[in-house]
Amino acid sequence: MRFSIYRYNSETDREPRMQDYVLEEIEPGMMLLNALIKLKAEDETLTFRRSCQEGICGSDGMNINGRNGLACITPLKDLDEPVTLRPLPGLPVIRDLVVDLSQFYRQYRAVKPWLTVHDPEPEVEFLQSPAQRDRLDGLYECILCACCSTSCPSFWWNPDKFLGPAALLQSYRFLADSRDQATDERLADLEGPYKLFRCHTIMNCVQVCPKGLNPTQAIGRIKKLMVKRSV
């Protein structure tokens, strides 16, 4: 199987380049990450992040044949040749497929992603009905892989102002939690033309999320809450 992989080492290279690789033995059921690991055994310099190998740690987000995804859960058999691999778009490249995610993490921190309760805490659990708990499904499962934000045009154009789909999904995860008491502060923090409202519902984020989450819908729901708050 043929691969064309983006190569760049910020220490030594002035320009990025694409390098061709061939992998002879492809076993049935093999994932893209397995192929990268085999290629790395031959060429130690090929650089990418990875850990869990099952789509739960969010390390190996990359651009695969033009589309963001996780290498470890992308079957080789679904890919056209040469498989073209590039780093996640729109962020500084540290080396090869490894991008600098500082901006992405800053946006995550900006939404104060922690449960905030003002009342005194009981000695037992906060009660939450199964229906209230169900509202967190599709929100809390985010693995911070950055596939969504780095496919979002608004994120590319305003990375310092628009918070991007991943952070906004997290914001809504706490807005939707029956236990959280910071709704007003959270919404106030999202005021202004950029942080939230730069989302133009282009839906790239939804199409690429490897966990099947729907940031666009979450963003829409935040917008509704904002409207409710302002009347």
Partner: protein, 587 residues
């Protein structure tokens, strides 16, 4: 060249559940705490834990901590330290509530309380009916807990060193631990982190086996750092093989599947666990179920064309239960096997999963080593928690759901003890130049290695040897061969050059350092397995098939220097209740 230096009150190496829970405690007490992790914190392996965390809340069936304690002692095959087990089981309910308050989206009952499910080895009333003690967030409990703990640390303003690789501990001649030498992966630069007290929370070492359920980063770095600092590793022969890894691949299919009513069948469609554990059946302890599967396959009742696995049946639970309670498992089966458990059983086989052994500690998380004269004593300033540590609550076999509990209970306890330690040790001790040089030596040694061995090839060879020579069933001869082979690999690694010597984000260098750690820990494991001439919990010696409480009711300690084995007694005396004396273990 001058190495950069940073100074903190406390250094936490590892940002899994254990490290983050300790850091949270320290940061909330306004200690300056640095957390070093070789991956971004939420990518730590705790994120993969599926089924849940044990606590006797009694939300679904009657329960109390004392029953939980009994099950844990029995599950440990009486090798667990009963004071630490009592401490953990008493603290469990409080820790779950704390996590719930921290935001963990636990699954719920109609009453609004936390849902609890059945897991293996759980009973009511000291060995009676099945209990339901495991608190889940669907089947993504580790993810939910790890993210919540990270979020609480962001809130508490913990200092994070993300993508920094810890190389070695720094120690002075009085035996104090003064911090660690770490490497910034992004730049390749070494950094000295000085701390008055240091916690190792680097997780397990499933990667010494070829097929395992662990993340690629689980390479036992902290354990190897301890070994190199002259600290022995305890009970390393006890490796948990999880009964239901996806056959041939290793991804975990959580015990929650059997807790929710799934069961195992052999090629004749027989529910064979009824023969091995008439009462608990599929929810017997993991060591029991794993051995049963291995025996079924060996005796020709395996499924598939090669007859090499069992089938885990879930379809009878119905689509609703599966989608609601086991969504992550369904995804894994769909992605990696192209089978939908709603319709088709999942092929499974025992897979290396969890390291019961580790860095010896007491129940405050203090690392303890045998004193040449008299009983053990703490290494000043050094703590360890989580899968890299051996406190020992899991003894010879861990119960499912007890590890997430272990990491938060002892993470918190260690944090508290470190806060006390800081009160008595207000200033940094001077850092001797030799300490630094020793640690830098390790990094430097990779810069001028030559030869024609390959790091990646040796890693594969090592894991294959461990699988063949230190697996579910063991004998003297096979283990001895294993020791020889691992030692040969250790020697050959000296002739495996680092071909990529660049600085920036050099993952080849990190992997080489990891393989070095794997070799140290693999040797500890196989040497300890060779030494223990009995069968207990997960350690099954075909040549010594019985548990031997007269000779072997003791912890083993392996030291790197001279590959020496020592032993120390099990702490049979709980904190307040009567001990549970060893009995025959039936499920």
């Amino acid at each position: 060249m001058n190495t950069a230096r940073r100074r903190f009150d406390a250094l936490v190496i590892g940002a899994g559940g254990g490290g983050l829970r300790a850091a949270q405690q320290l940061a909330q007490a306004e200690a300056e705490v640095a957390v070093v992790s070789k991956v971004f914190p939420t990518r730590s392996h705790t994120v993969a834990a599926q089924g849940g965390m044990n606590a006797a809340l009694g939300n679904v069936l009657p329960d109390n901590w004392h029953w939980h304690m009994y099950d844990t002692v029995k599950g440990s095959d009486y090798l667990g330290d009963q004071d630490a087990i009592e401490y953990m089981c008493r603290a469990a309910a409080r820790l779950v509530i704390e996590l719930e308050h921290a935001g963990v989206p636990f699954s719920r009952l109609d009453s609004g309380k936390i849902y609890q499910r059945a897991f293996g080895g759980q009973s009511q009333d000291f060995g009676g009916a099945q209990a339901a003690r495991t608190c889940p967030a669907a089947d993504r409990t580790g993810h939910a807990i790890l993210h919540a703990l990270y979020q609480q640390n962001l809130r508490a303003k913990t200092h994070f060193f993300d993508e920094y690789f810890a190389l070695d501990l720094l120690t002075d001649d009085d035996g104090y631990v003064l911090g660690a030498l770490v490497m910034d992966i992004a730049t390749g630069e070494p950094v000295v982190i000085e701390a008055k007290t240091t916690l190792i929370a680097t997780g397990g070492v499933g990667q010494i086996f070829r097929t395992n359920t662990n993340a690629m980063i689980n390479t036992g770095d902290g354990m190897a750092m301890a070994l190199r600092a002259g600290i022995p590793l305890q009970d390393m022969e006890f490796v948990q093989f999880h009964p239901t890894g996806i056959a041939g691949k290793g991804m975990l299919i959580s015990e929650a599947v059997r807790g929710e009513g799934g069961y195992l069948v052999n090629k004749d469609g027989e529910r064979f666990m009824e023969r091995y554990a008439p009462n608990a059946k599929d929810l017997a302890s993991r060591d029991v179920v794993s051995r049963a599967i291995a025996v079924e396959v060996r005796e020709g009742r395996g499924c598939g064309p090669a007859g090499n696995h069992m089938l885990l049946k879930v379809d009878h639970l119905g689509a609703d239960v599966i989608k609601k309670r086991l969504p992550g498992i369904r995804d894994i089966a769909l992605t990696f096997m192209h089978v939908d458990p709603i319709e088709t059983p999942i092929p499974v086989y025992p897979t290396a999963h969890y390291t019961m052994g580790g860095i010896p500690t007491n129940r405050y998380g203090q690392v303890v080593t045998p004193a040449r004269t008299g009983p053990e004593e703490p290494v000043p300033g050094l703590y360890a928690v989580g899968e890299c540590a051996c406190v020992s609550v899991h003894g010879a076999n861990r119960l499912g759901g007890n590890s997430l509990l272990d990491i938060v209970v002892f993470g918190r306890a260690a944090g508290n003890h470190m806060i006390d330690f800081l009160k008595d040790h207000r200033y940094h001790r001077p850092m001797p130049q030799e300490a630094l040089e020793r640690a830098q030596q390790r990094l430097a040694s990779w810069e001028n290695r030559s030869g024609d061995e390959s790091v990646a090839a040796l890693r594969l060879e090592l894991t294959t040897v461990m699988e063949q020579n230190c697996g579910v069933f063991r004998t003297e001869e096979v283990l001895q061969e294993g020791v020889d082979k691992v030692m040969a690999i250790e020697e050959r690694l000296l002739h495996a050059p680092l071909r990529d010597r660049s600085r920036v984000f050099n993952t080849a260098r990190a992997e080489a350092l990891e393989v070095e750690n794997l070799v140290d820990v693999a040797l500890a494991t196989v040497c300890s397995a060779l030494a223990r001439r009995e069968s207990r919990g997960a350690h099954s010696r075909v040549d010594y098939p019985k548990r031997d409480d007269v000779e072997w009711l003791k912890h083993s300690l392996y030291s790197k220097q001279g590959r020496r084995m020592d032993f120390k007694p099990v702490r049979m005396k709980p904190m307040t209740v009567d001990p549970f004396p060893p009995k025959e273990r039936v499920y």
